[in-house]
Symmetry: C2
Subunit: 354 residues, 2 copies
């Protein structure tokens, strides 16, 4: 049995008995009923995910997956492809947005080369990144499949491996991405899985003007016509549309769910990875915390498909895992509510009139 | 010249030259332009507030002001009045929502007795709370003024004192409140200052049913008819409607602004304090960060009047400073973006096509 098959077999829904026990405690806290709102809902999820009334959230890691996309040949991004590898160096040097925000949240940043179109061996040898390179960028999906089905499985299994390797020290995972052009495959994945139109889903990515946006929509329409993935088959969607880092993210989410640990899903690209993971195994949905609502218009429809309400809405559109890092503070806060707040009885505080 | 008059004289708008310098740096960061959205807007505010490109945000304090309200005699709350003093003990013992969330955010909780209707001397003598008691609860505002004009000034000056005393070690202030019945005066203050109707503004507080809500609206209408405060006079509004803790919050905000430090304003009651502070000195608006959007329906109109977009929207309705504690992580994150993220040039990353 493959790693992927083995992993899928160990993913179960949240434990409803721990959810019930958490709710019972939260109902008794010395505050007006449910007055900490969404934090209390989140605390129930954490109990159900971790099978604990004291969910561990100390060890935090943002796993930032990098990969390139052959579709940049179609002119879908304002930035040149070499920015992907340049940003990997920036992550390693600690100067990127994700480094600053992960530090603030007390999270480690783990950088993975899933398929950057440049030689990253030096950084891998120095232990500064994890090497899971499947290729030097995907094929141009406007002209054919992103990768073989075998490589799609390899990409997902690479993400699972990383979740397994980190899970000794990591209690809570965050997803992140880097890949010039990757809003294009992510939008195509969203179109396949949500059934929404390309016009509704497509955004300006890193900053396209009206003409460039119209062109991007044409390219995405061409990708869908040319590849026709099966909307019910996550591996088929990943193989045909890509990319390598999206597969890695899907695998990380599957691996976290198998480890019964929460995974905070970042923005637009990470959510495309989450949709692939859910297509592979629907139970993973129970382990996903949606970090934020991206400025990309399609993000809303993707989150509605997953059925989660994002914690933050701050007009972010960076990726890298930045929204996930910000949201980790809220996950930690929700656990603090469950574990540190006294009940009416414990605090000797009078309750409400019935 | 009184402390209040002296303080008002030292409150200036944000420094536009530091705002410009911050924007210049943020424009050059190695990310798609303004891709960290609201965090970048907030970073500009922090630079303008602190007159620094490296705003200090290490020292964090939530100042939770407690006071009682004579209007509880009208049956506007589901909880008995003694809960105010019981919750002060809970704060001191570290078991309340604010303790859990402040710990997560690395903030100190400073509890102030502004006018609790119980003897708090023991806690004050032990140095566990700050004693600024103006009285044992306000008068019943459905029948007359909450307090004298002199006491309204004393309440505001108490808040200013605390900001001044703490400002040696505190870089960023958060406001908080505790006071059974205090959504009633807060709603009345909102009605006076926003001009919106009582029906639009009034919410269920700690959990009123439909009948109790209708009764609360009648009481608030009576308060407004009986007291007729001058909407342009913050001290008059405070004296006539109260409460002591709302005055303390207004003073804390004025004091923070005079110290050129950011003040994160929590929920519905804290925002009533902010409206009083702005009525006293409009320039304080520049120092206010709105933490979150409360479930109380009037909160939106109050924040629109202030002209600020809240950072969080998590269906909170607890007060105590809980939303402010959560938002402090975002303020700290915004400063990390300004001070820790490399520019395109520093990171040797290629920019976008022009």
């Amino acid at each position: 049995m493959s790693i992927l098959e083995q992993t899928i077999k160990t993913i179960y829904p949240q434990d409803s008995s721990y959810r019930d026990l958490a709710k019972e405690r939260l109902d008794q806290l010395a505050l007006p009923h449910w007055a900490l709102g969404d934090l209390m809902d989140l605390a129930i999820d954490l109990a159900g995910i971790t099978r604990s009334l004291k969910p561990a959230v100390q060890g935090k890691a943002i796993v930032t997956m990098a990969g390139d996309h052959g579709v940049v040949a179609e002119g879908v991004s304002k930035f040149p492809q070499e920015v992907t590898s340049q940003m990997v160096h920036n992550f390693v040097n600690g100067g990127a947005g994700i480094n600053a925000l992960a530090r603030q949240a007390g999270a480690e940043v783990v950088v993975v080369d899933m398929g950057v179109a440049a030689d990253m061996d030096d950084l891998a040898r120095q232990g500064k990144i994890i090497n899971k390179k499947i290729g030097y960028g995907t094929n141009n999906i406007a002209k054919g499949a992103a990768m073989s089905a075998a490589n799609a499985i390899r990409a997902v299994e690479a993400g699972i491996d990383i979740a397994n390797e980190l899970s000794g020290s990591v209690d809570i995972f965050g997803t992140g991405d880097m890949g010039i052009g990757n809003t294009t495959p992510s939008t195509a994945i969203a179109a396949v899985i949500t059934g929404k139109s390309v016009a509704e889903l497509t955004g300006r990515g890193t900053g396209l003007d009206d003409e460039q946006l119209a062109h991007k929509q044409q390219v995405i329409t061409k990708i869908l016509e040319c590849n026709k993935p099966d909307p019910k088959n996550g591996i088929d969607i990943l193989a045909k549309i890509g990319g390598f880092e999206i597969g890695g993210i899907a695998g990380l989410i599957l691996g976290a769910a198998a480890q019964q640990k929460p995974v905070v899903v970042d923005g637009f690209i990470s959510t495309a990875g989450a949709l692939i993971a859910i297509a592979i195994e629907p139970f993973v949905r129970d382990y996903i915390v949606c970090a934020h609502r991206s400025m990309e218009p399609g993000h809303r429809f993707m989150q509605e498909k997953i059925g989660c309400r994002p914690l933050l809405d701050l007009n972010l559109r960076l990726g890298e895992g930045t929204g996930a890092a910000l949201a980790m503070n809220l996950v930690e806060a929700s656990v603090a509510v469950l574990t540190e707040v006294a009940t009416f009885e414990e605090a000797a505080v009078a309750g409400a009139d019935k």
